[in-house]
Symmetry: C2
Subunit: 352 residues, 2 copies
Amino acid sequence: MPNIFDVAKRAGVSITTVSRALNGYSDVNEKTRKRILKIAEELNYYPSAVARSLQGKKTNTIAFAPWLRDHIESRSFFKEIVGVLALGCLKYDLSLLVSGADSSQETNETLREVAGSGRVDGIILADIKPEDERIALLTDIGIPFVAFGRTSDYQELSYPFIDIDGAAGIRELVEYVYNQGRRRLAYLSGPFNTSYSVYRFNGYRESLNKFGIAEEPRLIVADLQEQSQIKETISKLFSLPESQRPEAIIASNDTLALNVINSLTEMGIQVGSKAGQIAVTGFDDLPFAAFLRPALTTARQPIEDTCAALLELLAAIMGQNEAKVKISQTNALMLGPKQYLLKPELVIRESA
Amino acid sequence: MPNIFDVAKRAGVSITTVSRALNGYSDVNEKTRKRILKIAEELNYYPSAVARSLQGKKTNTIAFAPWLRDHIESRSFFKEIVGVLALGCLKYDLSLLVSGADSSQETNETLREVAGSGRVDGIILADIKPEDERIALLTDIGIPFVAFGRTSDYQELSYPFIDIDGAAGIRELVEYVYNQGRRRLAYLSGPFNTSYSVYRFNGYRESLNKFGIAEEPRLIVADLQEQSQIKETISKLFSLPESQRPEAIIASNDTLALNVINSLTEMGIQVGSKAGQIAVTGFDDLPFAAFLRPALTTARQPIEDTCAALLELLAAIMGQNEAKVKISQTNALMLGPKQYLLKPELVIRESA
DNA sequence: AGTAGCTCCCAAAACGTTTTGGAAAAATCA
DNA sequence: TGATTTTTCCAAAACGTTTTGGGAGCTACT
């Protein structure tokens, strides 16, 4: 591979001139520039990104750092987001480095490596837990980052994040089924070791409170890990005396809802919005949600908006014009400086 | 951020010694090493990946380079693969750079940049077209790469690739519906500007030929771009006299099949494997395929195997032990040196 | 004619590592 | 004891850019 010296020699100028010609500086004669450009083209010369980074202290790369653990629920959404993010990076002339790990042990080591080694200029941190040591890690290292999601203590820590308002989404869903006349509302969730599970559950409790419905522990199952547990849970719920059985099942995400619907269907229980049927709702609006039978009523995560906001915020922080960060998404609620909440959108289909 | 000099000064040794201590060389006293390690820890020192790359000529990064254009069909599968790839990279201690572009103009410029600038050690090229100028580009630049998919002229060009045998998948599907007694088999496909469309269509023709069925132009529609066209196509097919209507519809991918099923259902036409119903098949086995009603009969792309093979092959090429490249996937067919074909798996469900 | 101001170019330093080729000090051997 | 080997360390070069701080050679002004 040719380097800048090869070009300089061939053109009969110094490497300084080659560099400045290629970078569009005005202190090089137009004729010389043309000549250098042609030679660079001929030689198939491309400046080394690595050398450039070393000198310029900029890599023009950001990392997307999720936890690639194999939850029943987590992987689908990760897949949705990375493509959109990659596309969005083009606008900022950034490259996207995907950096995750599956065993939680390694994770922090991988993240520390990518954050500490100067390989990237900024990081988008995903899959935030209620208490997430990665926030402190990155803050410590001093690398610009934006979290996708938020911890429980985001107010004290006050790091930048974009989150989707899970509580609001669930509240809308609950209100919707409440207005159908349903009162016994079960809530199914994965374990509370992911922030969004906690916030969504809070939404459920807030709604019950608002409508004056007492919490019924038997209707709340919040540690679902595997498919088999779901089936089991459902049959337990439906072995209750008729007057105590749930009239609606609020699932904390689409994948869970999918399994709930399948379990119910298998048991011969009708799912749907009509009276006599049991209502089921999800959250996320993954691609399959529209194609379920019955099609899933859910709250849509605004993926495009979220990714745009994440990049916008991160770019602003990296560009040091932190002062005037202003997220342009219309439905963004500002929780604190550089902390934004995006609203999910209610999607009514057939399952509720 | 501290650098190696800071550590050296604090430890009272030269930077050489720090470097060698950190990299586990044996010519540094165990006591000194311990001291250096502790100081590095205290200082929160991490070697600059950039400087290291510059010196070592290795970035330990590979790029995933798809075409992120917004086809009716292409995006879902891209999303599937990037997550698995990212996970697989961990085993090889590689990072994954996602580098795509949406307008086809930019694409080559982006690719040239990432390939020519030494930012990555290797590239996984996806979304191969029947004639794909990117192959020549990368060969020219001389960067190690593996294509996911293959051009029409892969034999002359002879570059490394992993492909999924689309023809074989379609053949199995066609044979399956043929054995149900169906003879009038329509074929629906997106435009032939993507390799897999061509190979899959070939599979269809080979099967017809094998079973002595004449090709019926009216049953072959191969330029579907939008949803609306699909509905239109379907109604045209079903406005034929009864004796000429298709008994099965072979769609070249799941997304297409999904829309076909929806269109048919809207028109009140029963889809399924039973006599009197029309059979519909897809290809890919995307996550939603199992949840359609009727659930989609399709050919599953072995994503995990494919990603594993891509990485295995690329790693071998990058490691210069090209000679003994041996793909370990059990169902891999070798087409040429470093050229492998993986077999899709028939997934029988309800739609056919 | 002298000087100030352009235009166009360049040598050298800096970015932070690893590698190379020793060299001093300590240990071992004869 | 002197010679040899081993252990432990280091100075300098190299990787390929960009930036800094000028410096010729012209042109234009007074």
